[in-house]
Structures are given as C-alpha cells and as structure tokens.
C-alpha cells in the first residue's frame, strides 16, 4: 500500500533498542586479524635488498644505513598501508599487524624501524 511513513512501524521499535553505533574511545570494535595496519620489521631476516623501498608507492619506506647495515625505515606519515613492501620482501622480514590507532602529535613521530 502506498502510504507516507511506510517505515514507521519498524522505526518505533528501535527507540528502546540498543543503537548499533558505539561511542568510540569508550567502546572499541575489534578489527579483523587480516587488517593491514602498522607494520612490524624483523631486522634479523633483512638482507638489505631494497625491494621494499623500490616498490613503495608513497615513499614511506626508504633505505638507510644504520649501525653498518642498510635497512628500510618506514615513516607512517607517508604510508598508505598497501602492504606492497611485505609482499615484495623475499625473506618475509616485514609483517603487517592489525594495529590501526596511529594518531600522533608531531610529524616524524610514527617511524617504524
């Protein structure tokens, strides 16, 4: 039947029911484990090949020489979390975790070494 307020019967029921949204900092939803979040770098597996830096689309991953070893450094300010570095790595030295709360105050604070 064509009436105004077709959804009304359903809508009224929702007044007393629990809302589906959550107040974020107090309640948190857990992301899936497959989420591409902050990366984890295993220095011991790295062979300094530089493939990660070469394939990074946003120049977040750059090669630096630290303590005599050439290795990637990730600046999350630039990162788009595409996980291409993890895929390009021949030794699985880069791993994506599901950590996603990466807000920080200053540029350059979120660097993964």
């Amino acid at each position: 039947m064509k009436v105004p307020g077709k959804m009304l019967p359903k809508i009224i029921g929702f007044i007393v029911r629990k809302p589906v949204t959550v107040l974020y900092p107090k309640q948190r939803l857990t992301p899936p484990e497959t989420l591409r979040g902050k990366m984890k770098f295993h220095l011991d597996r790295c062979i300094s090949c530089g493939l990660c830096a070469r394939d990074c689309p946003s120049a977040a991953c750059t090669m630096h020489e630290i303590d005599g070893k050439k290795r990637p450094v990730f600046d999350l300010d630039y990162c788009t979390f595409c996980a291409q570095c993890a895929e390009s790595c021949p030794k699985d030295a880069i791993e994506m975790t599901s950590e996603f709360e990466l807000a920080h105050y200053k540029k350059g604070e979120a660097i993964v070494k």
Binding site: P4, M7, T21, L23
Partner: protein, 332 residues
C-alpha cells in the same frame, strides 16, 4: 523590589516568580533546550545512533553565543539584527498566555486564544524578514519559500484550533480547558482537528516533511544561511521555544492542558502538579511531532501547497462543520 508582608506583597512576588522563573522565562528556556535534546535523542535512537548527551543543546547555545557575530555587508543591519529578537519575543509573549500551572495563565481574557495564535505567526514572519534582508541569494530564496508556504499551514492551523472554541462557544482558553475536562467526549469530536493541527504545527515549525524553507541539500540553510553567533543562537532558541509553545497550545486546546487540577496548600504545590500534567501532555504532542519527522522525505513547495489546499483545509472545514452541528444539536 522590597516586598511588604501583606497579601499584596506575596502576590507581587509570586507574579514575578511566575513571570521570570517558574513557569516563566527560565523554565521555558530550560524546557526548550530539553525538548531539543529529546528531539535529537529520540530521532537518533530511531536511526539506531547513540545521539547527543543531555547537555548538548545547552552547550551548542553557549558555544554559539561565544562566537564572533557577523553581519554581512550586503545585509540590512537593523532588520537582520531585529528579526531573531522579534521572533523570540513573540514566542515568549505567547507562552505567558498559556494556562500552564492552573486553568488560567498569567492573564486570561476572552480572546486570548486568538492572541496566542497571532503571536505564533510572528516568528515565521521574523524568519522571512531575516532571510530577505540577509542579502544572500539562498537566504532570499528561503525567505520566499517561508512566505509562500505561510498560508498553507496557517489557515488549517487556525481553523483546527478554533474547533474546540466553537464547540464550547468561548475564545478563552481557560473556558475551553474547563469545558473539556467536564466533557471528555469533546476530544473525540475534535480528534480530526487535533490531527490537522499537529500536521500544520509540523509545517509551522519547518520540520520534516515540511522543512522546505531551510532544506539543507537545496538552499543550504535558507533564511538562516548568513546568521552566525548570538543571532543564530537566538533563532535556534526561538525554534525550540516555538515547538514547546506550539505543542503546549495543542495540549491546552485539545487535551485540556493542566487539568484536572488538584487543589493543594500552599498554592505553589498545586501549581507544580498542574505544570507536571501540562508537561506530560506537551511531551506527548512533541513525541508525535518527532514520530512524524522520522519516516518521511521532504516534499516540494508545490506539493505542500496542493496538500494543504486539497486535504488539510477541506478537512479542517469538515471539522468546523462537525463542531457547529454538535453545538446546534445541543452540545455534547
């Protein structure tokens, strides 16, 4: 003011109390903000959202009042500033005539219903003037829409609200309230009028589906587009207060307002009970208004005008005819 110890002194004090605190301006202010909270919260819950916290409307008001107040260069300074104040003043004046704590308001006389109806038209005109003199094309467009829609809801609103007055034969709200409480059947006779008045009130308040003058996605905010800071706060407060007064008027005229009154000593106790009854009835009307806006889309100007002239006004006339017949046949 120095108060004497006599009866007269207490009366003055009570009058001042009535005027400024309860159920006067301060109470209206608080109740308006509470209404806005309720409106937003219930609307949010219907949409399965969490909704704003309790003090949010108050916080919004304070924030707006603290903001920079801009009058655009193209705007007519005097009218632009005066519009929100006129609108708010008219609503506060109308509020004083509503019988809230007892069957008489602050001042009750024959014809007070008409005065309230008249005062309730002024905010709409203030909105039109504010929009028109803001010098913004969106504001002017919104003002035009306000003006062109004015009659499509004012006429049915007037006709519907005059029905109880016709049945009772008095233009005095106190009489209408008395009559209703002694003749409960009157509610059923004027049910159609109540529904029409409710729909027209929704249009008067410019809420969905009749929020045409300030349709966000079409003309941004319509007449309010250039308003900011204190003036916007005043307009928003006026909108909330208008909702309270409008709903209160419906509660008085159709649902017998603060009656049945319980006589208690001292007198302010019975005031409080009366006010509570009034509040419950007003909130009921407000709840109906919220329900109405939750499940509809905004209609167009032409659709609203044709809806008003095809349905609302003829039905209101039918209601008046029923009222006259009832009176002619010897009352309820």
């Amino acid at each position: 003011m120095v108060c004497g110890k006599g009866v007269e002194g207490i009366d003055i004090l009570l009058t001042l109390l009535y005027l400024f605190i309860f159920p006067g301006f301060l109470f209206l202010f608080a109740f308006s903000l509470f209404t806005e909270y309720l409106d937003r919260k219930i609307y949010a819950r219907m949409q399965r959202r969490v909704g704003p916290p309790f003090l949010q409307p108050f916080a919004d008001l304070v924030k707006l009042a603290a903001k920079e107040d801009v009058v655009p260069e193209k705007a007519e300074h005097f009218m632009f500033t005066a519009a929100p104040i006129i609108g708010l003043a008219a609503i506060f004046a109308a509020y004083l005539y509503l019988p809230i704590v007892s069957s008489t308001g602050l001042h009750s006389f024959n014809g007070d219903l008409v005065v309230v109806l008249y005062l309730l038209t002024i905010p709409t005109l203030a909105l039109f003037l504010g929009g028109w003199y803001s010098g913004n094309v969106f504001g002017q467009k919104g003002g035009m829409r306000v003006a062109s829609l004015l009659f499509s809801y004012e006429i049915p609103f007037f006709l519907a609200l005059l029905t109880p007055a016709l049945i009772e034969g008095s233009w005095k709200m106190a009489d209408i309230v008395h009559f209703e409480i002694s003749h409960p059947l009157e509610f059923i006779v004027s049910l159609l009028g109540f529904v029409i008045a409710l729909i027209a009130l929704q249009g008067k308040l410019e809420r969905l589906p009749f929020d045409i003058p300030e349709a966000e996605t079409e003309i941004v905010a319509g007449p309010l587009v250039e308003y900011s800071g204190r003036r916007l706060a005043l307009f928003r407060l006026a909108r909330d207060a208008e909702m309270v007064v409008g709903a209160g008027l419906l509660a008085v005229v159709f649902l017998a307002g603060p009656e049945p009154i319980v006589q208690l000593e001292p007198v302010y106790l019975s005031w409080i009970v009366g006010a509570l009854v009034f509040l419950v009835k007003t909130l009921f009307v407000i709840f109906l208004l919220i329900l109405m806006k939750s499940a509809v889309a905004r209609i167009r100007t032409d659709q609203m005008i044709s809806f008003a002239y095809k349905w609302l006004i003829p039905l209101a006339l039918v209601q008046i005819f029923i009222a006259i017949m009832v009176r002619f046949l010897g009352g309820i």
